[in-house]
Symmetry: C2
Subunit: 524 residues, 2 copies
């Protein structure tokens, strides 16, 4: 049988078998259903991680990182307290440069948990971070949006709330994230209050805190105490926070200040060297891994100096720069290799791992965006990543949050979640009875086993058009982003806020109102 | 440092560091360069394959496949010679159904090579199939094309020649493939002659033969004898051929006839169960793997009955059907799991493996096409696939060959080829001197190590636009397929045929002319 003909024949046979009316009814149902489907719990991966480095390679990179830490050292800038903590821990401090005796950081990190729970206000939405768990969180940081009218413009607090709503609704997004876009219409010193309030009230999934100043981190903690109760917050992790290194080999005052607030309060930090290889790290994968490991060892160990046992995640943001233009590139082979390698290093260190997402450099949700995002997401999942930021909505190297791409990425996350369940080897999975029942030359469309497994056998895409060319043409020749546009609008229309105790809601609103009154507006 | 801001700052710093004139000159050079770049030899993977099944799972599926072979059996239809060969080999034949005693097929397959060379007329383009080698071949089979004017129409012999030229020019396509599209303007009984002639004269890469009738397979072999010499063909593999099972559990007269011709002539066959799971196999991954293994064991062992030692490849075409519409779906999780698992089964059997490619159901080269293709290609590469059909140009579930997607996919193949080189752990790769030279708080853009590795450090995409939004806007807001359109046109403009001995060319043309004269035109 010639391959293309088989496709035609079988598709035709199947349509006939089901009858036209059934097909049309299914299509109508799919069209009228506005909601995104049932929420899925975070992932427990049943597939093993993919490894690009062998024992020898891993040991080499670890030895090199130790050498970097001891010989070159890491700078902790404008933070006398940090330097004092390092002196007391036995490091050699020269000016702002900290040199680490071999093994010091690893030894300090023994108090950090390899898996922890981040609690959500809805206990069903609490997530594990570490081990075989994978948690998908949305895009983080863009000052622009690409909106549902196809316009690229500065993001507003309304956009922010929309992306929180979309993440709340998305079946395979397990986390509300943090700066899903930068609401530039809100004064810069008050933004974090509106952002945290949105996560707390519009969603019941776990979320991220502010890291742009230590006092904003403290506001985040105070609001968490209103939402969860003060004692609960001190004993449990309820917020996770992105602490980026100023690679190469620098932690700055802002990031250290936020890290201290969160660690002191037993809240989680993600220590992430933000790497555009060739600019912030060497142009080679092994060189980049060495520097990443050194930076994470120093930054993560620092959190344990502040409060032993505070949850901390080994983060890696891996990109390369275009050697022609200097612009960052995504979805290319080198960042994938960095992600796979860094995940291995994190597992050996016993820390949860963060990398990847659905990253791309494209300005529009086109084929470039999708190739790059899929390449990144495949590596992210197979690396065995525990916390995945930027898993939906990222466009333009992180400069824009895109509504259409958000729902297209969500569809891909559902596929990743299904892939992670691995191969079902139960008797039903083996399907020997089905093979017996059908036999040579027949087909499986109507057999008992197919009917029994019909609903869950295959992942159902919410975006893909798998119909015939003629059907697709008759329905208006829509591209994937056009279908995504309709889906995003329907999801937002269907949104209903999760219930929240009125006393808590009032407490949060009062806190935000008073804080805002206490400060003049600042726009820089 | 906040993630998005870092991207902005660093990109700006880099542009400044290089100077505006340098950037503009690089862009002009990139625009004026029409050719696709240097040819790359086939891949020797330096990364390990990814495995979804453990020893227990593999043994279970192998035991189940043995049970299918013995208890249910496989039908060899309308081919008395095949049934006689099986009887003589010790199988139990009831009607057209062959039942295989446990271990018979595996025992017969001991004569099949685990790696073989397919020779090209240009020895530099010869490829290895098996082991750590991966060979990318273009799309196979579509009766339609999506042309460079965006029109979807029946394919012609001119399209066929264009795709052969594009595959010849593409740096990371190692093989000319077979039916790169179906030239429906040529009578059906003469098509194979024009197709083989195009592969032999317009390209110097290895190619595939006709399988649509035993006499057409024989014509392919005769033309190979003209191109390579009769003795060389008898002693070496110069053509590889796609033999699909009529799943479930049937081989038909046409496929068996072609397989016999090729095996008898020591040429390679790819025994491929063509699976749309849910229709041609059970809806479960383990059930599908069981049936695939049983079918391949029977079909591949058959080639060894015809001529022990004839090269044979374990093929798997994995797709699922949409349970709503019955249409085939691609890039979804279940076919990826089938590919990973089947690759493991093939390695245990000691046979080269074929699966995957850049498969998609989309009607246009949009985000759906790219997500699906990237998902398929990632699984194909990491599975450790040896021969990859459909690696570029496939659209619409294989009903259309698309020029724009062809060059977009080629770019992705280049990335896959780079990924397969793994992590360089040499002293240069470790880059400790670079980390020392740069130190904390500086950047790597101008350091000696970066300069020395500038050209080869990162994969350079021919399609991706990584420029700023403003630059992209100023250049006309082109999408990836629009850029691909320009690239395909420039490649075709730059095409020059590889040299061919005039006597051989005359011999091939004479053969084709005489064959055509000997038959009336047939269009069905």
């Amino acid at each position: 049988m010639v391959e293309n003909l088989a496709v035609e024949q079988e598709a035709g046979a199947s349509r006939r078998a089901r009858g036209d009316r059934g097909g049309a009814a299914a299509r109508r149902a799919a069209r009228s259903g506005g909601g995104p489907g049932a929420q899925q719990a975070f992932i427990h991966r049943k597939i093993r991680p993919y490894e690009v480095l062998d024992e020898e390679g891993l040991a080499l990179i670890e030895a090199n990182a130790d050498q970097v830490l001891e010989e070159i050292g890491i700078e902790f800038r404008d933070d006398a307290e940090a330097l004092q903590l390092w002196r007391e821990a036995g490091a050699e401090v020269k000016g702002e440069r900290v040199h680490f005796p071999k093994g010091l950081c690893r030894s300090l990190l023994k108090s950090a948990p390899s898996v922890f729970t981040q609690h959500a206000r809805n206990p069903e939405r609490s997530v594990e971070i570490g081990g075989d768990a994978t948690v998908f969180a949305p895009v983080y940081g863009p000052p622009f949006v690409r909106d549902l009218d196809g316009k690229r413009r500065y993001a507003t607090i309304e956009d922010f709330r929309n992306f929180v709503k979309l993440a709340y609704l998305a079946p395979s997004i397990h986390h509300s994230g943090g700066t899903v876009c930068e609401p530039v219409d809100v004064p810069v010193n008050k933004r974090h209050l509106d952002m945290i309030l949105a996560h707390m009230t519009l969603s019941d999934k776990p979320f991220m805190g502010s890291v742009t100043a230590p006092e904003r981190a403290q506001d985040t903690v105070e609001m968490c105490k209103i939402l969860f109760g003060a004692e609960f917050v001190d004993n449990n992790t309820v917020v996770i926070n992105l602490i980026n290194a100023n690679s190469p080999m620098v932690f700055d005052e802002t990031m250290l200040g936020a890290a201290k607030v969160y660690a002191r309060n037993n809240q989680a930090t993600i220590i992430t060297p933000f790497i555009l290889a060739g600019a912030m790290s060497p142009v080679t994968v092994a060189g980049t891994l060495t520097q990443v490991l050194a930076e994470v060892l120093a930054g993560a160990a620092f959190t344990q100096l502040v409060r032993p046992g505070a949850p901390v995640v080994f983060g890696t943001f891996a990109s390369s720069i275009s050697m022609q233009s200097g612009a960052p590139t995504f979805g290319t082979p080198e960042p994938s290799l960095v992600s796979y390698g860094a995940a291995q290093l994190a597992r050996r260190l016993g820390l949860p791992f963060r990398t990847g997402g659905s990253l791309c450099a494209s300005k529009v949700p086109d084929a470039q965006a999708a190739y790059e995002s899929a390449n990144t997401l495949n590596a992210t999942l197979l690396a065995g990543t525990n916390f995945v930021l930027h898993s939906a909505g990222w466009l333009e190297g992180g400069l824009a949050s895109c509504y259409e791409k958000f729902v297209m990425d969500v569809d891909q996350l559902g596929m990743a979640q299904k892939l992670a369940t691995g191969v079902d080897l139960s008797e039903n999975g083996q399907a020997l009875d089905a093979i017996r029942e059908v036999g040579p030359g027949s087909h499986y469309l109507g057999c008992a086993h197919t009917q029994a497994n019909f609903q869950t056998a295959f992942y159902r895409s919410s975006i893909a058009d798998n119909n015939s060319f003629e059907q697709w043409q008759a329905e208006g020749e829509k591209t994937a982003p056009q279908r995504a546009n309709g889906l995003a609008r329907r999801w937002l229309d269907s949104y209903e806020a999760p219930g929240l105790d009125q006393g808590i809601a009032d407490g949060l609103n009062d806190f935000v109102a008073k804080k805002k009154e206490s400060m003049p507006d600042a726009f820089t």
